[in-house]
Symmetry: C2
Amino acid sequence: MARVSIKDVANRLGVSTATVSLVLNGKDKDGRVSENMAEKIRKEAKAMNYKPNNFARALRSGRSETIGLIIADISNPFFSHLAFHIQEHAERFGYSVIITNTNEDTAKMGKMISVLKSRQVDGFIIVPTENGKKYIDELLQDQFPLVLLDRYFSGINVSYVGVNNFQASMQATDYLLKCGCKRIALVIYKTNLRHMQERRDGYVAALAKYDLYDSRLIKEIDYRTIVNDMNRVVFDLMAGKEKIDGFFFSTNTISTLGLKKLAELNIKTPDDIKAVCFDKNDAFDFPGIAIPFVQQPIHEMGKRAVELLIEQMTRQQVLPVHEELTAILNKFS
Amino acid sequence: MARVSIKDVANRLGVSTATVSLVLNGKDKDGRVSENMAEKIRKEAKAMNYKPNNFARALRSGRSETIGLIIADISNPFFSHLAFHIQEHAERFGYSVIITNTNEDTAKMGKMISVLKSRQVDGFIIVPTENGKKYIDELLQDQFPLVLLDRYFSGINVSYVGVNNFQASMQATDYLLKCGCKRIALVIYKTNLRHMQERRDGYVAALAKYDLYDSRLIKEIDYRTIVNDMNRVVFDLMAGKEKIDGFFFSTNTISTLGLKKLAELNIKTPDDIKAVCFDKNDAFDFPGIAIPFVQQPIHEMGKRAVELLIEQMTRQQVLPVHEELTAILNKFS
DNA sequence: CTGAAAGCGCTTACAG
DNA sequence: CTGAAAGCGCTTACAG
């Protein structure tokens, strides 16, 4: 149980700790240490089962080899998968990930940043909450390596990985139009987060082309009262005098609740009404519930976020990058 | 950006770092430091925005205030919720959690233990994989604080938090019996993990009471080929000459696939066949899919696992505890 | 090519 | 009641 230190290895071989450290960190090239000695050291370290003490290393180097991840809602499968891929990928580069959750609460996001700072993470990957811009600004001011994921703010110069929300939403709306829908409702969060506005814009653009845009068909709901809001919205749209013939649900959670309400009202898709949504849901595995959805490249999103962050952490002065990956409509075809 | 160290605070006040450290760690009672000085130190530390360097502290103390969590499948909502609650609760005690995932792969579990060891976590919470007993044995031998979660092995003396699988399964099976079912099939993983065997035993016990037990109705499937296996099993049971009138799906994932296959075959629950399952699934929110399910106290499970682990980490020589929480059948009533 | 030494920031026995 | 000093395990200029 007693850990083997670099000193133990050095003593055993009658060399200095400096030499051992150099070799074990692969800095023995450029003629610093003889190949003969290096080999002996590597062998002995392995034999003694030497494991470096990360705290000593971190204390010395000021780097923890740890990434702080802040996501908005771990119970949402989109985010839990994202977290999974981020971790898998970080691991490959020798980084650990500390995952934290905000429940879409900005104060909590501030708190999680503090927690992760006190854990001395080397950098952050953040899915920010609606009013979290000020915290992001602070991190940037303090020069923390940082990548925003899924969502971003305008007027801020920071790396970001997301998808082509505008294009994908337009594609989803186009699909409904091709199905013959004339009156398509959009259900979306009331928020100023850019990615949501882009989804809205894509919807508007698609409808405008055919002169079918009607602002009254955009229904904004609140994350905090989502269940009631969804029930009301779906009921209103279906019971209203002006009949709706298509639904665009703009997120995973919205679609789940929307479809549930439709099922309760005994309205079937796609027979009674057409629907598409952004993101996949487990329930879509069921024949009666399946609707076309915009599929985000979750694996790739996690991968790129990690890569961009590591670049920031290991090089000096990296310019912020906006990376827009391609999400496409999955029609179950 | 330059961090304030304990020395900076000490210098400013003209005292020693020892005194500052004592005060800031709340060890200034027992007449070690004058209340006057202590107050001055606390004030100054705050004013200078002093934050302790965790690495230095960990290096000195040998403790990282970090918990390593190893779960079997983060994409399963049961586990992602569990991870969430564990983290929330650990946070309250000042511990961070590093979450890792094994995908039910024993070799990966071994690797994750290494990774977490090299991160010098103070203790482990583990949802072990089927053949992972040897790794658990090793951890115990090395005296690592450890709590198994959800699953355990027999013949091993280790703390464990789980649910009353036997009772809950009996209750679930009883429910089907009360619905009038006579031929109830159990679909379960082929595994030697104790918690699965308990679920099986509960099913058997309930049926045996009414002389309805028939071993041919227990269908074992393999996690790695689950999709094919489920399709085959459900098809066979429904198409077989001896008609089944009830299904007990023993996990979340099994039930999702089972229900999906039933839907494909156009067999409806509860009209055409009765079904119950262990664990909840998001899809159950939908009217057509809802079936009664055994509800595990996820929040409480996470909470207790953290509490038991912290007890082990902070006290010497704590005896292993088996804690069986109560899961009950949720009938959507 | 290799070693002696300083120092990262903290805690804790020890001395006074 | 308070300070001087050692040491946790590592890395990295510096000296030879």
